[in-house]
């Protein structure tokens, strides 16, 4: 059979690659404005209300592995199709460097399982270079994005409280849920050691924002994606309404290989491989928006080589793939004797912490590192899954009083009772910090390797600097102070220098951004301040790739705001005939 590329007969106004936060938002905004859209997704269709895909409200014993994380990286019920490795779609790392890349291929992408932590960047976060001389400023500031944060808050819904903290802007907040017991202990403890704790800001509906989505029913399972749409997933909240306009054709299991350009170097569509029939297809569009995730979009651009774009598309600056950066992460667990023998009640709450610690030392210039971190907490009487009850003998050594004349470990009714007594007495905390973007931390095309579709794969090259290591050391000190402040016992040894203070590998926090950064100077950035490629006026990138720096804030809320802003700009430019 001869090789043939099948052309779609429709010429779309806009082809959007990826249906996560950025792609979903662009699809929703542009579909509402009447544009004809091809929405192209590498994975299958997904709707959290689809009973065949539902994992919400399932019990561990419904899974033969009791929820273990062998098949899905965050456990059997987590709603991400993909993971750290995908069969037939490898990536490589330069020797001596580390990067772990999490991909979720399904409608809605990683928004189906994410932590719903929805933080605005503050004024300082857009202009960090002005403050510490490192990295680069964004070409825009908080006031440019603020109207879009407001719109996102109202459209999608986020709970929180007005706190008037300078670099933690307040928004349109739904009422927060009351803290859980361990969170009350933590609040009391942290206030004694000068570390603040405020209600968390999560895109979960404690009240409704429209008639299509119900309020949260407190099952704690946002990572499974909510069947009544009580949390934000791009699939249920953006893609579904976009499709309902009748303006969107959704292409699923469609793996985009490259962006096609015409003789003038303008984008004219995309080539994709249909994973179901294995054939190549072409979609024609007046505008192409990439939202495939920071690294996937960079990969598509770098693979879109032509005579007019020999380095890959939109890459005259040679910045595509560079300045890749993830949040830093480190964590610690603790055992709190006062939380043994707890009275039972349903403590599930929302899918995540009810309180957190925003970065509190912006004014301290003597820390030895430049950028901050926030602290997330977990604990409580959660649903058991694989791993529950492991190493009870270790808890025995920390609370020998439960043993009487027995010895640590053991068996029998005594052991059963011990597990019951320890239930809900462990908790943990994790720092999520800002790293400093550097050009040498990058993804590029591996000249030696292709995936099973024949698409050249990414090679990562990423190393933490002393900045991030010192920040992790500070996190560990904070964790110990917090644990001590509530009278708890830290578990395991304090991570030290030999492990970079427990600093996770780059990529591990799944906040990777920066690979197609925006900027005013076309020689040092890929996109302009509206996420539009400097080199190709009808090409946009609306995922985390556009970030100049990522604050210690989880990137999703900013991706959503910028994607909306870019979509408004694109619509105006098309109306004016500029695109």
């Amino acid at each position: 059979m001869s090789f043939q590329i099948i052309e779609q007969s429709t010429k779309y106004d806009v082809c959007i690659v990826g249906s996560g936060a950025g792609g979903g938002m662009a699809a929703k905004i542009l579909a509402d404005k009447g544009f004809k859209i091809a929405l192209v997704e590498a994975g299958p269709n997904f709707d959290p209300a689809n009973p065949e895909q539902r994992t919400q409200l399932r019990w561990p014993y419904e899974s033969p592995r009791r929820g273990a994380s062998t098949v899905r990286a965050f456990g059997d019920f987590d709603m991400a199709y993909g993971g750290w490795q995908i069969d037939g779609e490898p990536y490589t790392k330069a020797p001596g460097t580390e990067f772990d890349w999490f991909r979720s291929q399904m409608v809605g992408g990683r928004t189906n399982h994410w932590g719903r932590i929805s933080l605005r960047f503050g004024p300082l976060d857009f202009k960090r270079k002005d403050f510490d001389g490192k990295g680069d400023n964004w070409p825009i500031g908080y006031e440019d994005v603020r109207p879009y944060y407001d719109k996102v808050d109202k459209l999608i819904g986020v709970f929180g409280t007005k706190e008037n903290i300078p670099n933690e802007p307040d928004g349109f907040f739904l009422p927060p849920p009351k803290p859980r017991l361990h969170e009350l202990y933590l609040k009391k403890g942290t206030s004694k050691v000068g570390i603040p704790m405020i209600p968390s800001r999560l895109s979960i509906l404690t009240k409704r924002v429209n008639k299509k989505r119900q309020a949260c029913f407190y099952c704690n399972q946002c990572s499974r994606s909510c069947s009544v749409y009580g949390d934000f997933s791009s699939s249920s909240v953006l893609v579904n309404p976009a499709i309902e306009t009748g303006n969107v054709d959704l292409f699923t299991n469609a793996m985009v290989r490259e962006v096609i350009t015409d003789e003038n170097g303008k984008a004219s569509g995309v080539y994709y491989i249909n994973k179901e029939d294995g054939k190549d297809y072409r979609i024609k569009a007046k505008v192409v928006i990439l939202a495939a995730s920071a690294c996937s979009s960079a990969r598509i651009l770098l693979n879109s080589k032509s005579t007019t774009h020999p380095n890959g598309l939109a890459n005259s600056s040679e910045v595509v793939g560079k300045y890749l950066h993830d949040s830093t992460g480190a964590s610690r667990m603790a055992f709190m004797p006062e939380l043994m023998d707890r009275k039972r009640y349903n403590e599930d709450g929302v899918g995540g912490m009810h309180m957190y610690t925003p970065w509190w030392l912006n004014d301290d210039k003597n820390l030895g590192f430049s950028r901050g971190y926030h602290i997330e907490y977990w604990g409580g009487m959660g649903m058991p899954s694989y791993g529950f009850g492991f190493n009870t003998e270790f808890l025995h050594t920390l609370a020998p009083q439960v043993l009487g004349d027995r010895k640590a470990g053991g068996y029998g009714v005594g052991l059963m009772q011990d597990v019951k007594r320890f239930y809900g007495s462990t908790l943990g905390m994790a720092g999520r910090g800002e790293s400093i973007p550097r050009a040498e931390n990058r993804c590029e095309i591996d000249s030696q390797k292709v995936d099973k579709y024949g698409i050249p794969v990414l090679k990562f090259n990423y190393k933490w600097s002393e900045e991030e290591v010192k920040q992790a050391a500070h996190m560990q000190d904070s964790f110990e102070a917090i644990i001590k402040s509530i009278g708890a016992i830290p578990l395991g040894d304090k991570p030290g220098k030999e492990t970079n203070y427990g600093l996770e590998n780059p990529g591990r926090i799944i906040h990777e951004v920066g690979t197609t950064r925006m900027g005013a100077d076309a020689t040092t950035s890929v996109l302009n301040e509206y996420n539009q490629a400097h080199d190709v006026s009808n090409l946009f990138v609306v995922d985390g790739g556009a970030f100049v720096s990522q604050a210690d804030k989880n990137p999703t809320w900013t991706i959503l705001a910028l994607a909306w802003r870019a979509s408004d700009y694109l619509a105006e430019e098309m109306k004016k005939g500029n695109i």
Binding site: F159, Y185, N210, R344, G349
Partner: protein, 233 residues
């Protein structure tokens, strides 16, 4: 898991959702149907690839009959049950360990080796297989390997095996339906969170402050659609 059992769970899940739907403001339930469409053998939301993977693992057998019988005895020594709560062997524990040992192959060699050690030890001491000796004799061996922080040098490897087994039995039991009931986990169902119960707050000497009580969601308002008109950021 038994298909009837999973069906029952599904219907419970469906009923819960239906209860919630009664709280809806609009009357068109566009997110129902959770209890419909349950044709697949694995109905916990698998993708076709995942379903094939599970089926593949289930079609293989790792442990021998003797190993499974030995594990069932050990499981009931570790978790004997109490009152109305059954012992581990009645909660599908060997099915779980059989499956997880194929799913996480790192378990295979230490488990097989540990069970083999146990058989040898039983023959050495009592000249019979572990499954054929008396409960008292079984406990004599278990006593030597059940306390990892206090074990004689000649039993150190066996104690590591027993700790692994204790982990698997404990996790298997407390993720089973009776185990979850014994533990007293009360969630995984639609409900309305309104904070820590007052008697628990009192017991721990904690309280919600005025600000929190003022801003927190009031359960009776949860079905209202938020009105931003008077909201000032």
């Amino acid at each position: 898991m038994d298909r009837r059992e999973s069906l029952k769970t599904l219907i419970i899940g469906g009923a819960g959702t239906t209860m919630l739907l009664s709280c809806r403001i609009d009357d068109k339930p566009d997110t129902v149907g959770i209890s419909e469409n349950i044709e697949s053998d694995f109905d916990y939301g698998r993708t076709p690839e995942e379903e094939r993977w599970d089926e593949n693992l289930m079609s293989e057998q790792f442990y021998t009959e003797n190993e499974l019988a030995t594990m069932a005895i050990l499981a009931d020594i570790i978790i004997p049950g109490q009152g109305d709560y059954p012992p581990a062997s009645k909660t599908g524990i060997t099915d779980f360990i059989e499956f997880i040992s194929k799913d996480i192959p790192e378990h295979q060699t230490p488990m097989r080796g540990g069970l083999r050690w146990l058989r040898t030890e039983s023959h050495k001491r009592f000249d019979k297989d572990f499954t054929e000796i008396s409960s008292e004799e079984q406990l004599k061996i278990v006593e030597d390997i059940a306390y990892p922080m206090d074990v004689k040098p000649q039993f150190s490897q066996a104690a590591i095996f027993f700790s692994r087994l204790r982990n698997l039995v404990t996790t298997g039991y407390f993720t089973s339906k009776p185990g979850i009931e014994f533990l007293g986990y009360m969630g995984n169902k639609p409900n309305v969170w309104d904070g820590v119960p007052q008697d628990v707050l009192d017991e721990h000497g904690l309280a919600y402050d005025e600000k929190m009580l003022k801003v927190a969601i009031k359960p009776e308002e949860r079905n209202e659609i938020e009105d931003w008109n008077d909201y000032i950021v």
